[in-house]
Assembly symmetry: C2
Homo-oligomer: 347 residues x 2
């Protein structure tokens, strides 16, 4: 892994490097699953009778909210870290995240015996700080959560400086082939479990889950349409896909915090252009209504970013864009909802 991923990437209007559209292959995803078997939870692929009858299709939910750390992020982080050389692992890893990727790296560090430094904004939710710290208690000495003032400090600059000082490898949250291959394993398990799909809905932040899922789904299924699901308030992915050049957003006000990522990655964008069939954007009201459906009808706790794919599927079904009887997969993740936030999120 390199620390320069972000340096030459991220400008509005930038063209994708389509030579990277083969940087993750279906076999890469299969090999990642070999690594993750017996480590990651093989999460269930659940059919809700109510949901299938409600939309007139057969819908299978791949419940990554039931994954370790409550999110698919564990797959990419663990896989990427397991691919480091012994020397790299000894020197340790660094990442920056206020979300589920921080917990994923911390948990993987403990399991792999790798030192990890996690940069988190000092105003990150207490529960996320606490859980990340708690995972690191079982990781090697020198592991720590380091908080910073997000107003005055650039996390990328701080991260690069620290990683360079301490010889650590940066594990980016999405923009690396090993991370992407790891994220693709949930779609691989889903298709192994339920068979060929007609359509697959996947949430999009930086596009790691979407690109990995699309690579493997297109390989395994005869005629699957892979759909990225984004908040309308953070539709940089949908616009990038439509315009075939990078579109960006800045601090979008969506409740789907996992989808606030400013742009698709240097690797994820070309993979998405090569393998994804379309995007659906959903309103904040649709997100809230879908969380409520998840809670009341599916009995699953899913955070706002995690219901994006489900919200997109429901929108398509409501608009008659879902073929009757179609076999549909939806990746749901993650499941980290603060109890305090329940009334405002669901009420």
């Amino acid at each position: 892994m390199t620390t320069d991923v972000l340096e030459a990437w991220g400008a509005e209007g930038q063209a994708p490097d389509m030579t990277l559209a083969t940087c993750v292959t279906p076999d890469d995803v299969r090999r990642a699953l070999d690594v993750l078997r017996n480590v990651a939870i093989r999460t269930p692929s659940i059919e809700s009778a109510w949901l299938s009858e409600h939309v007139g299709a057969r819908v299978f939910l791949k419940c990554e909210n039931l994954q370790r750390v409550g999110a698919f992020k564990f797959r990419g982080a663990y896989h990427a870290m397991s691919r480091l050389s012994e020397a790299e692992r000894k020197r340790g890893v660094l990442t920056y995240s206020s979300g589920n990727h921080a917990q994923a790296v911390a948990h993987a560090a403990a399991l792999l015996g790798t030192r990890a430094v996690i940069l988190m904004p000092e105003n990150a939710p207490r529960v996320k700080l606490d859980r990340t710290t708690s995972f690191l208690e079982s990781a090697p000495e020198g592991s720590r959560v380091q908080t910073y003032d997000p107003v005055s400090v650039s996390r990328e600059e701080l991260g690069r400086a620290l990683a360079s000082d301490e010889g650590m490898t940066i594990v980016p949250p999405y923009d690396h082939p090993h991370v992407i291959a790891g994220q693709g394993t949930s779609a691989l398990e889903l298709i192994e479990d339920v068979g060929d799909l007609d359509r697959l809905y996947v949430c999009v932040g930086g596009g790691g889950l979407l690109s990995g899922s699309a690579v493997i789904a297109k390989d395994l299924c005869d005629a699957v349409s892979v759909i990225g699901a984004e908040p309308a308030l953070a539709d940089d992915g949908a616009r990038s896909f439509r315009d075939r050049v990078l579109r960006t957003v800045s601090n979008p006000a969506t409740i789907a915090d996992g989808a606030r990522t400013p742009y698709l990655g240097r690797h994820t964008f070309p993979l998405i252009l090569a393998h994804v069939d379309g995007f659906v954007t959903v309103s904040e009201d649709e997100l809230k209504a879908t969380m409520q459906i998840a809670f009341e009808r599916l009995r699953l706790v899913i955070e706002p970013s995690g219901v994006l794919g489900l919200a997109a599927m429901l929108q398509d079904a409501g608009a008659g864009r879902l073929s009757p009887g179609a076999k549909v997969g939806v990746v749901v993740s993650g499941g980290n909802v603060d109890l305090d936030a329940v009334p405002s999120l669901l009420g």
Copy 2:
């Protein structure tokens, strides 16, 4: 099925009829599963890495909150109704329940094309009335929810009068061998999926789920302990088990509404005496804390009655009564939580 189940049963201190301890056999449970395959959801048996590490055992949750109608009750109701003769089915079924059994009978009626009349107290939660009514919309003509004033009317008397007038068969919520055999299928699936268990925790109201689960678990596992889990405020089952005569409660004030049943059944009590190893009672605070753990750590929505088994397991683990590394099954069900009730239940 008969309508006289309740007539000769229910007195404090009454002795069990132990000739009924063989009224449900392991093969009855296996045959019930043959009926339920492709009808009931084969709910997932989930291991939470966090939970297993937290208690130092391998814990598998059988997620009946993800079953049709959000509860194991569907299994027993559908199985019992599928065992009726064609003539009985034509005349229809009747039940009384303010809880998940009402929805289960209504849903099974729609699937089987059987007329159903469901007596519900007029003060039942709106969401339960609405859902039961909604299922009955797909059931044959004459199906209806009939509300009654629970203060002035005995639901048993009203039910027997109506059933007799209209020639309907009563489908009791737990105290019938066909219902019990159906409820046992979830433990059968769990053991099929994860193998031999050392211990199995099951929630107790009238004892249908516990007795069915115990019958099949004792048959399949080498040395499993089957534990019933009850609220301390509604510990009639635990006391009946201890004293080997029927103990009763009256309108206990537990939040676990599914466990407010006044006494074990004429059939479930002897089955429990013959096959169950012990009871654990849990406080209301333990129930609330366990619901919170389910929400935050397991990402599952489980109602108070549904977390009884999990709360009992956590109590045993905390008290050092769980062998390190033991393989533990917990049936969790149901998942019908009113959003409005979330703050008071979880807060």
